[in-house]
C-alpha cells in the first residue's frame, strides 16, 4: 500500500511539466501549428528559470520573489520563441515538421551555450519548496498523493479547466479553433488567421517555457543538458493521445508520469531489472500509444500543419 502511495505521490508532481507543455502545444495545434520545437523552448525555460534565482537572487533575503521572476522570464522568452517560430512557419509558411526540429536544436543549443557561460558546472538552487496543505495533507492515502506538493502543481491542475474554458467558451478560443479547422472560412468572416496563429504560438511558447522552468526550479533544482529528456516530444505526443482536449491530456500526462514514477520505484526497490530498460519505458509507451490511437488523428484540427495563404485558392 505504502509502495503504491509513494509511486502516486511521485507521479503527480512528475506530470506537471508534461501537462503544462502539452496544454501549450494543444493551443498551437488547435490553431493549426504543429510545434515540434517544444523541447527546445522547454530547455530555454529550464535554463532561465534557474538562472534568475541563481545569479541575481543569490543570497537574497526573499528567494521566493526571484523564483517567481525566474518563472516569468522563462514564460516571456518562451513566448518570444513561439513568435520567432511563427515568423518561420506562419509568415514564411515553411514546413512545420522540419522547422520544429530546427527550433528544438536552436533552443537546446542556446540553453546549453548560455548555461556554460553563466552558470558553468553542476550548481543547484533552492527552488520552490513543497508545502503541506494544513489538514488536507493529513488525510491518509489521499493526503500525501494530492496535498503535499509545491504551488505550481496545484496551479497546473487548476489550469486544466481554465484551458478548457478558454478553448471552448471564449471568443478567442473559438477563433483559435476556427483558424485550425478552416482558416479560409475564418478569414472570410474577418478573423485575422495569421494573427490568431501568432497569439496561439506565443501562449504555447510561454507554457513550454514555464514547463521547463518547473523542471529546473521544482523538480531537479538544477540545470543539465539532459534535463528535458524528450519531455517536449512526449508532450507533443500527448496532445494526439488526449484528442486535443485539456482533460484527456491531463489523464495522459498522469499516465506517463505514473510510468516514470514506477520506473524510479523499481530501481529504488532494488529489483534485479536492468536500469536501462526501465528508463526506456516511457519512450516505448509513446510509440505504443501513438500506434493504437491512429483513429484519433481524424479528430484533430483539419488544418493542422497547413500554412494559410490568403492570396491562393485551394
Amino acid at each position: 500500500m505504502n509502495f503504491i502511495v509513494n509511486i502516486l505521490s511521485l507521479a503527480v508532481p512528475f506530470s506537471v511539466a508534461l501537462l503544462i507543455a502539452s496544454l501549450g502545444e494543444m493551443f498551437n495545434q488547435r490553431a493549426g501549428i504543429f510545434n515540434l520545437g517544444c523541447e527546445g523552448v522547454m530547455a530555454m525555460g529550464a535554463f532561465l528559470g534557474m538562472l534568475i534565482p541563481y545569479s541575481i537572487g543569490h543570497g537574497g533575503a526573499t528567494p521566493g520573489v526571484y523564483n517567481f521572476l525566474g518563472l516569468l522570464v522563462a514564460m516571456g522568452v518562451g513566448a518570444l520563441f513561439g513568435i520567432f517560430f511563427g515568423f518561420v512557419v506562419v509568415t514564411f509558411r515553411a514546413p512545420q515538421g522540419i522547422a520544429g526540429i530546427g527550433l528544438q536544436m536552436f533552443g537546446v543549443g542556446t540553453a546549453g551555450t548560455l548555461f556554460r557561460h553563466f552558470i558553468g558546472g553542476t550548481q543547484s538552487v533552492l527552488g520552490i519548496d513543497n508545502i503541506d496543505i494544513p489538514l488536507l495533507s493529513k488525510i491518509p492515502i489521499l493526503g500525501p498523493i494530492f496535498f503535499t506538493h509545491n504551488i505550481l502543481v496545484y496551479l497546473a491542475f487548476l489550469f486544466v479547466p481554465v484551458a478548457w474554458y478558454i478553448l471552448f467558451k471564449t471568443p478567442w478560443g473559438l477563433r483559435v479553433r476556427a483558424v485550425g479547422t478552416n482558416p479560409r472560412a475564418a478569414d472570410s468572416i474577418g478573423i485575422q488567421v495569421n494573427r490568431v496563429r501568432f497569439q496561439a504560438l506565443a501562449v504555447g511558447g510561454a507554457l513550454a517555457g514555464l514547463a521547463g522552468a518547473y523542471l529546473s526550479l521544482c523538480q531537479a533544482k538544477m540545470f543539465s543538458d539532459e534535463i528535458i529528456a524528450g519531455r517536449g516530444f512526449i508532450a507533443v505526443a500527448l496532445v494526439y493521445f488526449g484528442h486535443w482536449n485539456p482533460v484527456k491530456i491531463m489523464w495522459g500526462a498522469l499516465l506517463f508520469s505514473f510510468a516514470q514514477a514506477l520506473q524510479l520505484a523499481i530501481q529504488g526497490q532494488g529489483i534485479n531489472f536492468p536500469y536501462e530498460f526501465a528508463v526506456m519505458l516511457p519512450y516505448v509507451m509513446v510509440i505504443v500509444v501513438l500506434a493504437f490511437s491512429r483513429e484519433s488523428q481524424l479528430l484533430g484540427p483539419t488544418a493542422l500543419g497547413k500554412p494559410f495563404n490568403r492570396e491562393k485558392r485551394t
Binding site: 536544436m105 551555450t113 491512429r294
Partner: protein
Amino acid sequence: MTKTFKITYKVTIIILAILAAMTIGAIILLTIGADVLKTYSVILFEPLKTTLQLSEVLIRAIPLTIIALGIAVAYRSGIINIGAEGQMAMGILGTTAIALLFPELPKPILLPLAILAGAICGGLWGFIPGILKAKLQVSELLSTVMLNYIAAQFYTFFLRGPMLDPAESSLGGSGTPQSMRLSKNLWLERLPGTRLHTGIFFAIILAIVIYLLLWKTSTGMKMRAAGASERAARYGGISVTTYLVVAMVISGAFAGMAGAIEIAGVHRRAIEGVTGGYGFSAIVVALFGGLHPAGIIPASFFFGLLIVGADMTQRMVGVPANMVNVLQGIIILVIVATKMVLADPYLMEKVWRKYQKITNPPKEVEA
C-alpha cells in the same frame, strides 16, 4: 521579367538569409559577451590552418555524408528521418557484435560482414518507424525521436553489460563504458600521422550509389514521386507506403553504416558518445546540400568545419562548443523559410513590379 532580375532576386534573398542566420547567431554570442567576428572567423578558418585540423574536419565529414545521404533519400520519399542518431548507435552495436564474435576472420571477410551487420541493425531501427507510418499512420517525427532515446539506452546497456571490456571490470579501468579494442582485421587504413581513414572513399562511393538510385532507376523515380506528391503518385499506381518503408530502411541502413565506418576508422572500439550528435547534424547537412549527393558532400565538409571550429572556440575565444547546435538550429530554420520565399512566384512578381516602378516610371505621366 528579365533573367538578370531573376538571378539578382534569388542571390539577394540568399545573401539576406545568410545575414539573418549570422545575426541571430551574433545575438547569442553578444549575450555571452563574445567577440562576434572573431568567433565566426575561428569557426570558419582556424580548422583549415593545419593539415591535422583539416584531416579532423574530413573525419567529421565522413559520417555526416553517409547519414545525410540516407536522410535525403527519406526526405525525398516524403518521410523525415530524425532518428539517425539511434540508427547509428544500433549500427555500432551490430558491427561491434560481429567483431567481438569473429575476431579471427580475415579482413576481406570481417570488414564487409561487420559493415553489413551495422547496416542491418540500423536498417531495422529505420524499419520500425517506416512500418508504423505506413500501416498505422504514426508520425515518424515522434516515433524516430522516441527510438533515439530507446537506442541510447540499448547502447549503454550493451556497453555496460554484455560488451563491456573485461579490463574495465576487473582492474577498474577508465570508468567509461566501452567495449574492448576490436580486432585489427576490422581497422580501416589511416593516412599516416592523422586519423583520416579510408572510409572517405566509402562515403564518396555511397554518394554515387544514391545518385544512381534516385535519378537513374525506376525505384528512385517512384520514391521521389511518392515524396513530391503522394496523391499523384498513388494515382499513378505507385505503392506509396511500400516506398516509404523502403526509404526508411535505406535511411536507417546508411546511418548504421556510418556508425560501422566510424568505429572501424576512428575509435576502433564501441564507446560512449560515438554518435555525438551526427544524426542531428546530418539533417542540416542534407537540407543544406539541397538533398542531392553533389550538394551533400560539400555541405558535410562545411559542417565538419563548423563542428571542429566550434571545438576550438572554447579554447580560443571562450565560446562553448554548444554554439554549433545553435548555428545548426538557425540554419535549418533559415533554410526552410528561404526555400519557401524562393519558391513563391507571386512574391517575385510583386518585387518585379516595384522594381519596374522605380527604374522606369509609368509612361502615362509623360504623355
